[in-house]
C-alpha cells in the first residue's frame, strides 16, 4: 500500500482529475450526475493521499515539465495549501451530494461540467506557486463562478452575475498589473524565488497595493463587498454555498500566501489598514445581516461579516493569529455551506425564504433545522464548535500581541452573529401548524447539510488533526511576530 501511495504524484492528479471529470461530463451529459459524484469522491481520496505524502516528507515541490522554478512552473504543497484542499474537497463532496437532488435535468447538464472545472481551478490555485499561473487559475475560477451564478434564471441573478463578472475581471487586471511590476523588477514569477529577491522599492510598494486591491475586490472585503450579497443570495443554492465557502476564500488564500512570503517586509501600517477594513466588515456585515428579511441575503451578509474575521489576523501577524484565521476559515466554510443548503431546502419546499414566515416550513424539515442551528452555533463561535476554537485562538493572539482592540471586535462580531442567527431560529418555536405544500425533499439534500454542520461542530472538539495539518512545512514560521 505504501509503495503505491508513496510515489503517485497526487499533487498533479489533484488538478488533472477534476478537469478530466469536467470534460467527461461535458461529453456525456446523460451520465453527468454520477460522473460528477464519482469525481468528487476521487478528489477526496487524492487529497487524503497527498496528506499522507506530506505527513511523510513535509512540504512538497513539483516542477512541471521538469524545468525547475525560474523557467518552468512549480507546484508547491505545504500545510496551508493542504488545509485549503481539504476544505475544498469536503465542502465539494457535500455540494456534489446536495446538487444531485437539486437541479432539474437540463440545468444539471450545464451545472456538472462547470462545477468540476471550478473544483479543478480551486485545486490548481491552492497548489500553484507561480504568480502568473495564479492569475490564470483566478480567471478560470471567476468565469466558472459567474457562469454558475447565471444558471439561476431570475433577472436578479443575471444582473448580479454581470456585476460579479465585471468586478472579477477588474480584480484580475489589478492583480495582473501587480504581477507585471513584480516580474519586471525581480525577473522571476515563482513565489519562493521572489521571496528571496524581494526588497522594498517603489515597484514593490505599487505591486503590493495593486495585488492587494485586486484580491480584496475578489474577496469582497468591506468597502468592496457590494457585489457579494446579491450574487450569493440569487445564485442557485449549491452555487451560493460554493461561492461563500470556497471561491471567496481562494483570493484570500493568495493574499495570505503572498503576505507570508513576498511582502513580510511591508510595514505594519498596511497590515493595520487591512485589520481596520476587516473590523469594519465584521460590524457592517453583522448589522446588515440583522436588517435582512430574506434568509439567503441574511446568510450572504453573514459571509461579509465572517470574512472580516480572517483579516483581523493581518495586524496581529503571529503564527497563532494565522492559525486562528485558518481555523476560522475552515469552520466558516463548513458552517456556511450547511447554512446555505438549509436555506435552499426551505426555499425549495416552501417556495420562498422570507424569514417572518419560516416557521410553517421548518416544522416539516427537522433535519434541515438542526443543520441550520448547529451551523449557526459555529458561526456565532459558541463553545462546542470550530468557530469557538478559532475565536479563542484569535482572542489569545490579540491579547498576547497587546493589540486587544481586535479582541473587542471579535466579541462584538460574535454578539451580532448571535443576534441574526437567533432572529431566524426564534421563528421556529411558534404554534403555526406545518405548511401543506405538496412534494417532499430528497433526503440527500437534508443529510448533506446536516453532515457538514456536524463537521463544523466536531471541529470544536477534535482540534489536534487540523492544527497538525497547518504545521506541515511551517508556512507561518517565517511570519514576523508582533
Amino acid at each position: 500500500m505504501e509503495l503505491i501511495l508513496g510515489d503517485v504524484p497526487w499533487i498533479v492528479v489533484l488538478i488533472i482529475l477534476p478537469l478530466t471529470g469536467g470534460m467527461a461530463c461535458f461529453l456525456f451529459p446523460a451520465i453527468s450526475k454520477s460522473l460528477g459524484l464519482l469525481t468528487s469522491l476521487a478528489v477526496v481520496a487524492c487529497v487524503w493521499g497527498l496528506g499522507w505524502q506530506l505527513e511523510e516528507e513535509g512540504a512538497q515541490r513539483y516542477a512541471i515539465g521538469g524545468w525547475g522554478a525560474p523557467l518552468g512552473i512549480d507546484l508547491y504543497a505545504d500545510g496551508l495549501s493542504l488545509l485549503m484542499l481539504v476544505v475544498a474537497a469536503l465542502v465539494g463532496l457535500g455540494i456534489s451530494v446536495y446538487s444531485c437532488g437539486y437541479f432539474s435535468p437540463d440545468k444539471a447538464n450545464h451545472f456538472w461540467p462547470l462545477w468540476l472545472f471550478l473544483c479543478g481551478a480551486l485545486n490548481a490555485l491552492f497548489l500553484s506557486s507561480d504568480i502568473f499561473n495564479l492569475y490564470v487559475t483566478l480567471e478560470l475560477l471567476g468565469l466558472t463562478a459567474v457562469a454558475l451564478v447565471a444558471l439561476a434564471d431570475g433577472a436578479e441573478a443575471l444582473t448580479s452575475a454581470m456585476r460579479y463578472l465585471l468586478i472579477s475581471l477588474l480584480g484580475s487586471l489589478f492583480y495582473l498589473l501587480g504581477v507585471a511590476f513584480l516580474y519586471h523588477s525581480f525577473g522571476s514569477l515563482d513565489i519562493a524565488i521572489l521571496a528571496q529577491r524581494a526588497e522594498p522599492s517603489p515597484a514593490v510598494w505599487a505591486a503590493v497595493g495593486l495585488i492587494s486591491t485586486g484580491l480584496l475586490l475578489k474577496t469582497a472585503l468591506f468597502p468592496m463587498h457590494f457585489w457579494l450579497p446579491a450574487a450569493h443570495a440569487c445564485a442557485p443554492t449549491p452555487v451560493s454555498a460554493l461561492l461563500s465557502a470556497l471561491v471567496v476564500k481562494a483570493s484570500f488564500y493568495i493574499l495570505l500566501r503572498m503576505w507570508l512570503e513576498i511582502f513580510p517586509m511591508v510595514g505594519t501600517s498596511f497590515a493595520q489598514l487591512l485589520g481596520l477594513l476587516g473590523a469594519a466588515a465584521v460590524l457592517w456585515g453583522g448589522i446588515q445581516a440583522l436588517r435582512q428579511t430574506r434568509l439567503k441575503l441574511l446568510i450572504a451578509y453573514s459571509t461579509v461579516s465572517q470574512l472580516g474575521y480572517l483579516f483581523l489576523a493581518f495586524p496581529l501577524g503571529t503564527s497563532l493569529a494565522w492559525k486562528g484565521a485558518l481555523y476560522m476559515l475552515l469552520s466558516h466554510a463548513m458552517a456556511k455551506a450547511a447554512m446555505f443548503m438549509a436555506a435552499g431546502n426551505i426555499l425549495v419546499l416552501g417556495g420562498h425564504d422570507r424569514i417572518a414566515e419560516l416557521s410553517s416550513i421548518t416544522q416539516r424539515l427537522p433535519l434541515t433545522l438542526t443543520a441550520f442551528t448547529l451551523a449557526g452555533i459555529s458561526i456565532m463561535g459558541l463553545p462546542p464548535s470550530g468557530g469557538f476554537i478559532a475565536k479563542w485562538l484569535l482572542l489569545q493572539a490579540s491579547i498576547e500581541s497587546g493589540q486587544w482592540w481586535w479582541g473587542i471586535i471579535l466579541i462584538l462580531g460574535g454578539l451580532l452573529a448571535a443576534a441574526y442567527v437567533f432572529k431566524v431560529i426564534g421563528h421556529v418555536f411558534t404554534q403555526d401548524e406545518p405548511t401543506r405544500q405538496a412534494g417532499t425533499l430528497p433526503t440527500t439534500m437534508e443529510w448533506s447539510a446536516l453532515v457538514l454542520a456536524l463537521v463544523a461542530v466536531l471541529l470544536g472538539l477534535f482540534t489536534s488533526w487540523p492544527l497538525a495539518i497547518m504545521e506541515i512545512g511551517s508556512p507561518f514560521g517565517t511570519g514576523h511576530s508582533g
Binding site: 502568473f132 490564470v136 480567471e139 471567476g142 468565469l143 459567474v146 457562469a147 447565471a150 431570475g154 433577472a155 443575471l158 444582473t159 452575475a161 454581470m162 456585476r163 463578472l165 465585471l166 468586478i167 475581471l169 477588474l170 487586471l173 495582473l176 498589473l177 507585471a180 516580474y183 519586471h184 514569477l189 457590494f226 457585489w227
Partner: protein
C-alpha cells in the same frame, strides 16, 4: 530614456483611462469595452518593460503571458457579451440596476 518607456507610460494611461470609463459609464457594452482597453494597457506595460535593454533579444516570457492574457480576455468578453444580452432580455435595460460603482 528609450522609446520603450513611452509605450509603458501609454500602457499605464490606457489602464487608468479604461478604469475611469468602467466607473463612469453605465451602459454594459461600454463597460466591456473599458475592460478590454484596460487589459490592453496592462499587456502593453508587460511587453514594453520586457525589451528595456536593446542589445539583447526581448524577453519572450512576457510575450507568452500576453498571448495567454489576450485569449483569456477574449473568452471573458464573449461571456460578458452573452450575459449582457441575457440581462437586457430579462430587465429590458442595458445597465446594472443600482448603478453599481466600479
Amino acid at each position: 530614456m528609450s522609446y520603450v518607456y513611452l509605450y509603458a507610460l501609454l500602457g499605464v494611461s490606457l489602464f487608468v483611462l479604461g478604469l475611469n470609463a468602467l466607473i463612469v459609464h453605465a451602459h454594459l457594452l461600454r463597460k466591456i469595452l473599458a475592460v478590454n482597453v484596460m487589459s490592453t494597457g496592462v499587456f502593453l506595460v508587460l511587453v514594453a518593460l520586457s525589451s528595456r535593454n536593446e542589445e539583447v533579444l526581448p524577453d519572450p516570457v512576457p510575450h507568452a503571458m500576453v498571448i495567454t492574457g489576450i485569449v483569456v480576455s477574449v473568452s471573458a468578453t464573449a461571456l460578458a457579451l452573452i450575459l449582457m444580452l441575457k440581462v437586457n432580455r430579462a430587465t429590458g435595460k442595458n445597465e446594472l440596476p443600482d448603478r453599481g460603482r466600479d
